[in-house]
């Protein structure tokens, strides 16, 4: 298990252009597999255009207490990119006026941003219908100052979405690090104890599953049943929905795919599973992603590849929803990850 980000290791893949080159070379350049653009055109879906904006996703920083092997953010304790209070002020202006019904905070571990609680309190006042915080669970056990997070989330009616790669210890720790499973179980129990995730509770607790290896997620509903049964029987834990998310071939997951000689096979799996029905609801069509330094992207993955929105407006300080909605979505071959099988988004399957 690595303990540093690609960036801190000076790994070549920390360079986003290098990643984009890999995604456009070899099997794609040689014509073995079609470029995503051509595949979209084949289904009459190119260029990809946004629908109504529904979700504003804000990445408040890449710092994290974990260094997960598959992380598309290349997050970790050594990452210093953290959203400042000034940028948060800019975000709040947008949150107060946006037509989006969902606000989605992500990271890194968003809770590690020193202004996280202030930002949540201010944003909650805007009366957003669905206010999500993506929490990695272990952060709640990482330090005493985070122990009251469940109560804090409850106070602001936060919808907690947490990662849980498997209901067994071995698989979870292999992907996320030793001890992650036990800490996650403790955190889930804590969330349950304040009312999160219980049947019929309005305090939403959803789990995110993403495969721990070079394979696609199976049927989301079937996985949810398995997770629910195992977590209930073994630990008496309740949660609401399971989101099955496909690992996209970028950043640390791309590094893993190449190092384990699974890259080509994985890209074949993604392309073979291409589903035009998933394109209809792919998340970049209803989401905007804001980076820690205020730049705007079609999704969190494009953010990590530094592919900014193709619009007159590029930054939160110039935010203009109608201008932004009139744009073509920036794509590359990583996008096959969101259109494979039942599709994949930060809210799980899309078909």
């Amino acid at each position: 298990m690595k303990t540093k980000s690609l960036k801190a290791r000076n790994n070549k893949l920390a360079d986003t252009q290098r990643q984009l080159d890999i995604l456009s070379n070899s099997i794609f350049a040689e014509g073995e597999l079609p470029f995503f653009k051509d595949k979209l055109a084949e289904s009459g879906l190119f260029p990809l255009r946004p629908k109504k904006l529904e979700i504003l996703q804000i990445n408040v920083g890449y710092m994290c207490n974990q260094v997960c092997e598959h992380c598309h953010v290349d997050a970790g304790p050594d990452r210093k990119e953290i959203m400042t209070r000034e940028t948060m002020e800019e975000c709040l202006k947008v949150i107060r006026t946006t037509g989006a019904h969902t606000l989605d905070l992500t990271g890194g571990a968003p809770e590690m941003n020193p202004n996280f609680r202030w930002f949540v309190e201010e944003a909650a006042k805007a009366g957003i219908q669905d206010f999500i915080v993506r929490s990695n669970l272990t952060i709640m056990r990482a330090n005493k100052k985070y122990h009251d997070l469940p109560e804090f989330f409850k106070k602001h009616n936060i919808h907690v979405v947490s990662s849980m790669p498997h209901y067994t210890r071995g698989k979870t720790d292999k992907q996320r690090g030793d001890g992650v499973f036990d800490k996650s179980i403790t955190a889930l129990k804590q969330l349950n104890s304040v009312g999160y995730g219980l049947p019929g509770s309005s305090l939403r607790l959803d789990l995110v599953y993403n495969p721990s290896g070079a394979f696609l997620p199976g049927d989301q509903a079937a996985l949810e049943l398995d997770f629910k049964k195992a977590l209930k029987e073994d630990f008496d834990i309740d949660f609401h929905d399971l989101f099955a998310i496909t690992n996209l071939p970028i950043s640390r997951f791309l590094d893993y795919l190449i190092a384990s000689e699974n890259y080509e096979e994985y890209m074949y799996s993604l392309v073979e599973a291409y589903n035009p029905a998933a394109v209809d609801n792919v998340m970049c069509t209803n989401t905007l992603s804001v980076s820690w330094d205020g730049w705007l992207y079609d999704c969190d993955f494009n953010q990590m590849l530094d592919l900014k929105v193709q619009s007159q407006v590029h930054h939160i300080k110039d935010y203009n929803e109608s201008l932004l909605n009139n744009r073509d979505i920036v794509i590359s071959q990583h996008c096959y990850g969101c259109t494979a099988g039942s599709g994949s988004s930060c809210q799980g399957s899309v078909t």
């Binding site: 067994t168 394979f215 199976g218």
Partner: protein, 111 residues
Amino acid sequence: MAKSYYDPADLRKFGNITEWSEELGTKFFDYYGKVFEEGALSAREKSLIALAVAHVVKCPYCIDAYTKDGLQRGITKEEMMEAVHAGAAIESGATLVHGVQMMNKYNKLSM
């Protein structure tokens, strides 16, 4: 021609068998797809049966395919290995039960 009998990339070409016999190929793949749908047995249970049979018939393509399928379904390595043992036990049992035939013949021929 390839220098080995098995090439992992050939698995992706499985569908090509239909090109030389469209009717039979199509019928086979329709049947195959139907077999693995949810039924009285779950798709998960059928995946484990397929994995066990893949080992018994020693098909490297099927072993690759159903190990990956199992991972996708969240099937654990312990469950997969138990399935392989179930297949192996039947296979070795099938050999050993012929021992009775050997004993019968031995006894018949012996004074």
